[in-house]
């Protein structure tokens, strides 16, 4: 036996497929190590003789590498490229090594070999499954202050990175005729077959290369080639086809409704220095007409005492490490099995020069040829025997063997122990597709039963035994190619053992692990049953069996079998835990992919946004929009800026960006009829060129939206909505138009973004803009308040509204959006010498509150009727129908005691109430107090020289003049109930 030491002392010369010259340097807990390109971290560690790689969750027991795949429960590590690219909980069996890879073990302190947390193992008799439900209850305060913080600190595996992730993630929606999950023999056969029909095919596999079990099946040939080489040539053939997409390192993690499958492709985690634009991972969201599941089977461990010692591992894993990576998992490898498959591993190891002292087989009379083959290699085979316990602590050192029916114990020294409890068909995705599994009692396994989607399972995941049968099934599933693929030397592996192995039965108290990561033992499962957990879901939740990061891929069936035995019921009667997505854990980054940073959510800006920004405006988020909030000048805080803006509007004029308001063009001969039905107001008689303030209700009678509507022609209206309401108002209108009133000849077009809207408000408004306007008579008589005209401004088309949300005489200039900035600047340039002042949403809010104009969504909240809001006048008196008319008639909506919108003045005019503050009639009552209303809007009004507020108050309009109270933490504020208008009560300024 010769070894290649520079890539690990356990590297076997001549074994495996890696190139000895291509070495890769990496570190594990600071130790410099060397592996080969193509190694997984697990194979590279094993090559270096390292088995101890982590600590378990609860007892902090030393743990090694159980498997060679994504089912790994133990070997979870932390990998760090740099501070912002550190990844906890990486399975060493999946991670490929690259030059410079930095690996740290987890869940241990201060070090992996000496871990204080391992005291948990000492106290484990006190910590059976569910112990925490029975204690930590006294004294009462201690749960929060003492027990819980300690439990939290002890729990958890890896550590979240401290810095935001600088990696990129991507997404691809894809469609195909056939999606094939798994590129082992079955999947490749299906792909070749499907591709031959011309169908579009996607085939994915979680491994870096195709082959599945062919990667370690050393003896088989397919179409005359060694199995592994056949797989490699098949995948090459498939890659070359236009109609096939091959995705390796790609896990199908979720199977959703209507053949929608989520895949995640790992693109750069195996690269030493990924290219700059390269995403780390890519989410594939695939819609397939047909799905072929070729997901194989997962080998189970055997449940015996101390089966968690590092060096105890699955036989197939040892075989893969040998045949793929050229790594021997030990020098003296014991074998413990309950079925044929571990024999193949033993034979391969023996042939590679490894000492295999004994195969312990629980079966009394295994008859397969492979048993004889092992014996013929001088491997001792002990049938009817079991391993009752593994010796050693940080690495297995021996196996204690007894006859299954009891008898004398024999101890065999080993440095690795490989085992096989049989194979569990991987029905996870099938189950996620809502297929129903059936119990194959003869072979003690769940198999796909009833399919819920257009999907088929082939090969080992379908319980199909034997390579030829698998290939045949794959070919058939692809529904193409009829010429067979011929295999030789395929093996058939059924049987095995589920539940506890001999020596770990109900009469024992050994630690025989079912779920390694969560430290669930066979006796924990029995305890759960004893305590009344009779459904497998209860057992699972009580013990946490199968709830670790491996999702119970190796443990679920064992747990179920032990529970069934304890309950003395057949397995299907105890149930099977349903499989939940994802198949293996998926990074949040891949799921989020592009939707980070600037692409988290669109930021909507108006055509004049950059101007506001250049003026130093502060912005407010309103839905997705950024709106100019106020324009602080040097030395100003928000308060003084808003005061200045408010005063300027009333004394000279202000300019305001109203572009975000929703706009809908309603066109057609029945446009007015339609608006009659959608708004409370009457519209038929509104003259062309005139505007009206409209209220829109939901069918339940509550205010939904409001806005000014202008009539441009008999058959054309320009409707405005609130900023946030624009999309839902459009949807609401379309709903009624299409499904309730489809007889009306009218169409709706969103024009929110067609128009930039520049509001110019104040006594000098007309003076400022009139010189820029062509073709419109802007005189008071020709264009009174609430009118609209079409013409030109600054040489571009405009819809000029005379309207006001400030109570001042004012205009809203609509121009095609691309001209917005230029027109704004022209208006501002002309108005600035006259005192024209830009004002933001805050000043707008103050100015409208001074006039008692409501803001839907602030002064109303979805429970307010027009009557409550003092808008009864806006309801057409003679109308027989509009949306909400019936809702408004409901008993409670017409009852006394409703909250009505009123004004509030604090008795001390300098006190500004807090919006949301609650109002009471009697401030001296004890808590809980009877609240009769709340403040909806509240501002300092520089124009009024005092604070002003609007409030919803029970029977508010009957309380005008009453004194009410606002109890605040620092004292009670006395307020007077008033009307809603605080400034220019007669509204004379509108017509100035």
């Amino acid at each position: 036996m010769s070894t290649s030491t520079h890539s690990g002392s356990n590297r076997i010369h001549g074994a495996g497929r890696l190139t000895p010259a291509k070495t890769v340097r990496f570190t594990f807990d600071g130790q410099n190590l060397t592996g080969l390109e193509g190694d997984t971290l697990a194979s590279a560690l094993l090559a270096n003789g390292i088995h101890l790689v982590g600590r378990s969750f609860k007892y902090h027991r030393p743990r090694g590498i159980l498997s060679a795949g994504s089912e790994e429960p133990n070997a979870l590590v932390d990998i760090e490229r740099d501070k912002s690219r550190r990844q906890p909980n990486v399975r060493a069996t999946v991670q490929e090594i690259y030059d410079g890879l930095k690996v740290k073990s987890q869940n241990r302190w201060p070090s992996l070999t000496f871990d204080v947390g391992a005291l948990g193992d000492v106290f484990s008799p006190m910590l059976p499954a569910g112990f925490y439900y029975k204690t930590f209850m006294w004294p009462k305060f201690a749960w929060k202050s003492i027990y819980e913080p300690r439990i939290r600190a002890a729990a958890g595996l890896g550590v979240t990175p401290g810095e935001p992730d600088t990696d990129r993630y991507s997404n691809r929606f894809a469609h195909c005729d056939v999606l094939i999950v798994g590129a082992g023999a079955a999947g490749l056969a299906a792909a070749l077959s499907a591709a031959s029909t011309g169908a579009s095919v996607i085939i994915c596999d979680e491994q870096p290369e195709a082959g599945g079990a062919l990667r370690y099946e050393s003896a088989v040939t397919i179409d005359g080639q060694p199995g592994y080489e056949w797989a490699a040539s098949a995948i090459t053939k498939l890659r070359a086809l236009d109609n096939v997409t091959v995705l390796t390192r790609t896990t199908a993690f979720g199977y959703y409704a209507q053949n929608f499958v989520g895949l995640v492709e790992r693109i750069s985690d195996h690269l030493s220095s990924p290219a700059l634009d390269m995403p780390r991972e890519r989410l594939w969201q695939v819609r397939a007409k047909k799905v072929v599941l070729a997901t194989g089977a997962i080998e189970r461990h055997l449940v015996f005492a101390n089966n968690d010692r590092p060096g105890v591992m699955l036989a197939s894993a040892a075989r893969l490490f040998l045949n793929q990576h050229g790594v021997a998992v030990g020098r003296k490898v014991g074998v413990y099995t309950s079925n044929d498959s571990a024999y193949a591993a033993a034979i391969d190891l023996k042939n590679a020069g490894i000492d295999v002292p004994v195969i312990v087989d629980t079966r009394d009379n295994p008859t397969s040829a492979i048993v004889d083959a092992a014996r013929s290699l001088d491997i001792e085979v002990l049938t009817g025997h079991a391993v009752f316990s593994a010796g050693g602590k940080r690495r297995v050192s021996s196996m204690s063997i007894q006859p299954t029916r009891g008898g004398s114990e024999r101890k065999v020294a080993v440095d690795a122990l490989i085992m096989s409890g049989g194979w569990t068909p991987s029905v996870h995705l099938f189950s996620q597709s809502r297929g129903k599994v059936t119990w194959d009692a003869a072979n003690e396994r769940f198999l796909p039963g009833t399919y819920a989607q257009d999907c088929v399972s082939v090969g080992a995941c379908n319980g199909t035994d034997g390579l030829q049968a698998t290939l045949d099934e794959g070919l058939a599933a692809g529904e193409g190619r009829t010429s067979p693929i011929v295999a030789t030397n395929g093996t058939e592996w059924t049987g095995g053992m589920i539940g506890s192995a001999p020596g770990a039965g109900a009469d024992t108290s050994v630690k025989a692990f079912v779920d390694f990561q969560n430290d669930v033992t066979a006796k924990d499962v029995r305890l759960a049953v004893r305590e009344g957990m009779h459904s497998i879901e209860h057992v699972k939740r009580f013990t946490t069996n199968g709830m670790a990061t491996d999702q119970g891929k190796t443990s679920n069936l064992h747990g179920l079998a032990i529970a069934a035995e304890a309950l003395d019921r057949p397995i299907p009667a105890v149930g099977l835990t349903t499989f939940r997505a994802p198949f293996t854990p998926v990074t949040f980054g891949a799921i989020v992919n592009h939707a980070r940073h600037d692409l988290f959510d669109p930021t909507r800006e108006t055509p004049m946004h950059d101007w506001h920004a250049a003026q130093g405006a502060a912005f407010e988020d309103v839905g997705q929009w950024k709106r100019a909030w106020y324009y602080p000048q040097a030395g100003e805080d928000m308060h003084s800026a808003v005061n200045r803006e408010c005063v300027a509007v009333r004394n000279q004029a202000g300019i305001f960006d109203a572009s975000t308001l929703g706009k809908i063009e309603v066109v057609g001969p029945d446009a007015a009829k339609f608006l009659e039905l959608l708004y409370t107001n009457p519209w038929e008689k509104l003259g062309v060129g005139r505007c009206r303030y409209g209220i829109m209700l939901r069918e339940d009678g509550f205010i939904y939206d409001d806005g000014v509507v202008g009539r441009l022609a008999e058959d054309r209206f320009h409707v405005t909505t609130t900023t946030g309401g624009a999309p839902r108002v459009m949807h609401h209108m379309e709903d009624y138009l299409q499904t309730e009133f489809p007889h009306l000849n009218v169409w709706l077009t969103s024009t929110t973004e067609q128009w930039a809207v520049i509001a110019v408000q104040g006594p000098k408004a007309r003076e400022i803009i009139a010189p820029l306007v062509e073709g419109i008579d802007m005189s008071n008589e020709a264009m009174p308040h609430m009118s609209v005209r079409e013409g030109k401004i600054c040489g571009v088309p405009t819809r000029l509204f005379r309207m006001s949300f400030t109570g001042e005489s004012g205009y809203e200039i609509n121009v095609p959006a691309d001209y917005g900035r230029a027109v704004w600047e022209a208006v501002y340039g002309r108005g600035k010498p006259l005192g024209l002042t830009p004002y933001g949403t805050e000043a707008m809010h103050v100015l409208r509150a001074e006039k008692g104009y409501i803001i839907v969504g602030q002064d109303t909240d979805g429970t307010v009727t027009p009557h409550d809001a003092g808008l009864t006048w806006a309801i057409g008196k003679n109308k027989t129908d509009y949306v909400g008319i019936r809702g408004l008639l409901r008993r409670d909506l017409v009852a006394n005691g409703r909250k009505q919108l009123v004004g509030l003045k604090t008795v001390d005019p300098t006190i500004v109430l807090e919006e949301g503050a609650q109002i009471v009639a009697n401030p001296n009552q004890p808590v809980p107090m009877t609240m009769i209303g709340h403040v909806t809007s509240s501002y300092w009004s520089e124009n009024c020289g005092r604070s002003i507020a609007l409030a919803l108050v029970i029977d508010g309009t009957k309380r005008l003049g009453e004194t009410l109270y606002v109890p605040m933490p620092n004292g009670v504020i006395e307020v007077e109930v008033t009307g809603m208008v605080f400034f220019d009560e007669k509204g004379e300024r509108l017509n100035g």
Binding site: D99, S170, N171, F173, H175, R239, D277, D598, N745
Partner: protein, 184 residues
């Protein structure tokens, strides 16, 4: 010391998948756009006015010179004219029942061009963009990431993405980001 391994692996998307390659994302020129609505009985007359046959089959388009009509719904077309044209004025003359609304400034056009164009769009658009499902000349309203777009395939490897103007920054950034991935 042996030479250190520097992996030169073939990326699966570079190997044997001719549909995936880099694509450019650029802004379309200003265009005249009208949202045209009418019932079926007016289609012939409106087609005459426009000088092209309004498509009546879902997901199809008709073009004539600089002018194109995209079927968006059973009574809805997006008319795009690459030159500053009189579409709106023309339609104003049509006597049949219809609604024509100028949305030239509402929309922004972005062109995705190159062999990876479909993959770039599929970075955020969930529709099947294979040539079979979305042939040259196909157009549809759909979504891209978190926004609504109109997607028009006007050549095998060229898409025009139309979105509302305030979403243009998002759409452009999204497509550029997606193009970075496809360029890998």
């Amino acid at each position: 010391m042996v030479e250190l391994a520097h992996a030169t692996r073939l990326h699966p998307l570079q190997a044997g998948n001719p549909d995936v390659a880099s694509a450019s994302v650029t802004l379309a020129d200003n265009a005249t756009r009208v949202s045209l609505r009418s019932r079926a009985d007016a289609v012939a007359a409106l087609s005459g006015t426009l000088g092209l046959a309004l498509p009546t089959k879902p997901k199809t388009t008709a073009t004539s010179g600089s002018r194109a009509a995209l079927w968006l719904g059973p009574d809805e077309w997006l008319i795009i004219d690459d030159v500053d044209s009189s579409v709106a004025a023309d339609l104003a003359e049509a006597k049949v029942l219809h609604s024509a609304v100028d949305i030239s400034h509402r929309n922004v056009g972005i062109i995705v061009d190159g062999r990876g164009a479909a993959a770039v769009v599929n970075g955020g658009c969930p529709q099947d963009l294979s040539l079979k499902a979305f042939p040259v000349g196909a157009a549809s309203r759909t979504v891209l990431g978190k926004i609504e777009i109109v997607l028009w395939r006007n050549a095998e490897n060229r898409f025009r993405v139309e979105c509302w103007r305030s979403f243009a920054n998002y759409a452009y950034a999204f497509l550029r980001e997606s193009a970075r991935d496809v360029a890998v």
